[in-house]
């Protein structure tokens, strides 16, 4: 896979420095023009629109389950469509499938690498995908036979040239979307391992991705160490929209339930909401007392609440429309590395460097 490099202009007769300076000036001019175009249509702020909406009451959210079993930092988790099972992966190479409702461990696989940074549950509930420092994404079909060795049926699907940071199945078990430290995202056919489409445009490691929940289901958003959040067309591989307002790495991106917006969480300790139709950032969720980066974000079912897992061991709950913080949750004993709301919105699960996962409701 090719990775972005300095343009070929450097080999031409013209002084490379001059050309680059010229290009950079042009860049700045265009950027300003884009901001002007966006500003022309900006006739109202989100919190103004939100004035007509009722305020939220008090929330009582507690840890309802604590899942203990990982021997090291939990790095990633995903829910099964049955709303109660989850898959989680950790630094020691273990991937565990739990029935979070009963807290039973149902399957466990040991990956040949450490730092399994990405894991995903297949839509059918019959397989899980995971990967990390091995630069690959592998799919393990799950079976009802407890004694079966899952590692034997493992299928290697994706191959990147650097670590795998995130993976997600599309609407079926047959395709996987991955993002990697090599700066690219890619879409793969699970059965053959064939690369269907690759997505180039990030200037640094891509850390996260999320598929759009729309009826057409053809786009996804990715966030990276270059502080950019890019929206991609899965068919053509083109980046169709890009947002660069964060001040540091973007660790997590998640679509608003309607598919017309998405939220991002970054090392700059803010979460931001981006409106895709207006093509701009519309809200920043931050507080002076919140200094530590956000590792992952997710919306509640209606999109009213935004949950953020932070590196200072807490979870902050934001009112998406009014921009205020609704609640702060304590419980984990080290940084929260992953957070996902369950498919029916009844709970959310967090994974942490303190080796545990917690389900909150």
């Amino acid at each position: 896979m090719r990775s972005p490099r300095v343009p070929e202009m450097a080999t031409q007769e013209v002084q490379p420095n001059e050309t680059l300076t010229h290009l950079k000036t042009e860049s700045d001019t265009l950027k300003t023009k884009l901001e002007e175009e966006r500003a022309k249509l900006h006739d109202v702020e989100l919190h103004q629109v939100a004035e007509k909406v009722d305020g939220l009451g008090q929330f009582i959210m507690k840890t309802r389950r604590t899942l203990k079993g990982h021997g090291n930092k939990v790095l990633c988790m995903d829910w099964c469509k049955d709303k109660r099972r989850i898959v989680s992966s950790s630094q020691d190479g273990k991937v565990i499938v739990w029935d979070a409702f009963t807290t039973n461990k149902e399957h466990a696989v040991t990956m040949p690498c450490t730092w399994v940074m990405a894991c995903a549950y297949a839509p059918s509930g019959c397989a899980v995908a995971c990967g990390g420092l091995d630069n690959k994404c592998s799919v393990y079909p799950l079976s009802l036979d407890k004694n079966e060795n899952l590692a034997a049926k493992k299928k290697s699907v994706a191959m990147h040239t650097n670590y795998l940071s995130a993976c997600s199945f599309t609407n079926s078990d047959m395709q996987i979307l991955t993002s990697s430290g090599d700066g690219t995202c890619a879409l793969w056919d699970v059965e053959s391992g064939q690369l269907l489409q690759s997505f180039h445009g990030h200037a640094a490691d891509v850390l996260c991705l999320d598929l759009a929940p729309s009826e057409t289901g053809n786009t996804f958003v990715s966030g990276g160490c270059d502080k950019k959040a890019n929206v991609w067309d899965m068919r053509s591989g083109q980046c169709i929209q890009s947002f660069e307002t964060h001040e540091s790495d973007i660790n997590s991106v998640r679509y608003y339930p309607s598919g017309d917006a998405f939220a991002s969480g970054s090392d700059d300790a803010t979460c931001r909401l981006y409106d895709l139709r207006a093509d701009r950032e519309v809200a920043i969720y931050s507080k002076e007392s919140i200094i530590f980066g956000v590792s992952s974000v997710d919306f509640s079912l209606s999109g009213r609440l935004l949950f953020g897992g932070y590196n200072d061991y807490t979870i902050n709950v934001w009112d998406v429309l009014k921009g205020t913080r609704v609640s702060i949750l304590f419980g984990h004993e080290n940084r929260v590395s992953t957070l996902r709301v369950s498919p029916d919105g009844t709970a959310f699960c967090t994974g942490s460097w303190d080796h545990t996962l917690r389900v909150w409701a």
Binding site: S27, N218, R277, D279
Partner: protein, 500 residues
Amino acid sequence: MRICLRKVDLPLSPAPISICRMTIRTARPNRGQHFRPRTHCLNKLESIVVEMQDPKSGVKGSEQKLNVSTIPHVITGKDVIAWITNKMKTTPEEVQAFGTMLVAYGYIYPLQNHKKLVLCNDSSLYRFQTPYFWPTQKWVAEDSDYAIYLAKRNIRKKGMLEAYEQAHYSHLHDWLNHKWDFIVMQATEQYKAGKERNKPDRVVFDCQERAYWIVSRPPVSEHCCVKSNDPNESITTISTNIFYQQAIMRSKVKSSVSLGALTKYVTTYKNHDPFLAPCLPSNPWQTDHDAYWTCNTRIDVPTKMRVERWSFSLFELLSDLRGRDDFKVFLKKEFSGMPPHLMRHLSNLAFWEAAEELKWGTASSMTSKAETIFKTFLAPGAPRWINIDGRTMGLTVKGLDHPHRYVLEAAQTHVFLLMKKDTFFRYLKSPVYKDTQKNALSPAPHNFSPAQLEQNAQNRSLGVHPVIVWQQEEEEKAKAAAASAPVDVKAMMSKIDRKK
């Protein structure tokens, strides 16, 4: 009061490959979570720590007697808490959490109980860590530094190392063996230099150094939150410029319109969000009773909430398999045996489903699926011919010469729009939907007593394994395929997929 006991320049000998593998280092700057720059938040933290040490407006320190020595500039936990509360003006829990972060990251270290990295809101004693040992400094807490530190402590007093330190020391002795002479030499030098300092200075430095290593190499049971590192990137300016130009040309919507839509979505789904309105009969995570899940499977009688949700959009209706079933019942009742211009309502859904199967199917099944779809829906005189506009039909048929997974995109979008604007509204006004609505359940809210909740917790239902559910659904599809006529294209698609 920085004491410049920095490591002497190491002779740069190439390290053996085995060592590289042990310390997860690759040739490229590795940005895995263990090596990510956190400098942005740490810089903010540092400016606050500097403020805290301001002689006039910072935290007040004093001299404290500890064991036999007197230590200057000692602060108490409660003073730190008070200062933070005054500065941030927020809740006690948040202040406590923030204070603990300062200790966890090594900006403040405890004098008593030095291994427990928390900020106690009482008269516990702390000191500010010297900037030399701050996590943002450029040098990484390397294993050889740690080895020198442990060796030095061993020289000072044999048997002084704790169990976890002893374990680290043995490990380091093994794989740093090739430069152990160097390490011992460094440790001896540092020890001698330390002895030449006056006692109070030495005690303070020892505390600082010890605190630094507690943060960077925590005891096994504790969790290390400090990591480090840096490098940077460059941008491809040309493609960026092209991108900006395209972005400028792209059509955008007024904020009032798009934000209004976002707000409307929230209002529509408010009562369906378990965090905003109670889910009936109860939230399984709160009461340990899974009735909410069992009454929302693909059962005959859905709940009123579920039926209401189908009316929000065609996407919701089709996404819920039970809703899709209801829609199919309506289509059959309303349009079966009708003239072609009404039968299209039936074929539209079938086509949409078949197109979905193609889009999300395996790469190897593309061609055969595309062929079947052409024969069933698009060919002139096809049994389930869909009535789309000439242009789309032309493009689609042409594309089928070289089928790929998005070949039906245009046709599928067109069909979906037809269903959304016409068929969907007919469904919502139909007797089928109204009957389903009328017969839908309204489960009464659970009201468990504490004893019952205990019971529930002991008897959590195992539910059905997703693999079993999936197998059952595949069987259902096969049955439906056999029963219906004309050929259920969707089931055929799945069969083709399964055969592969």
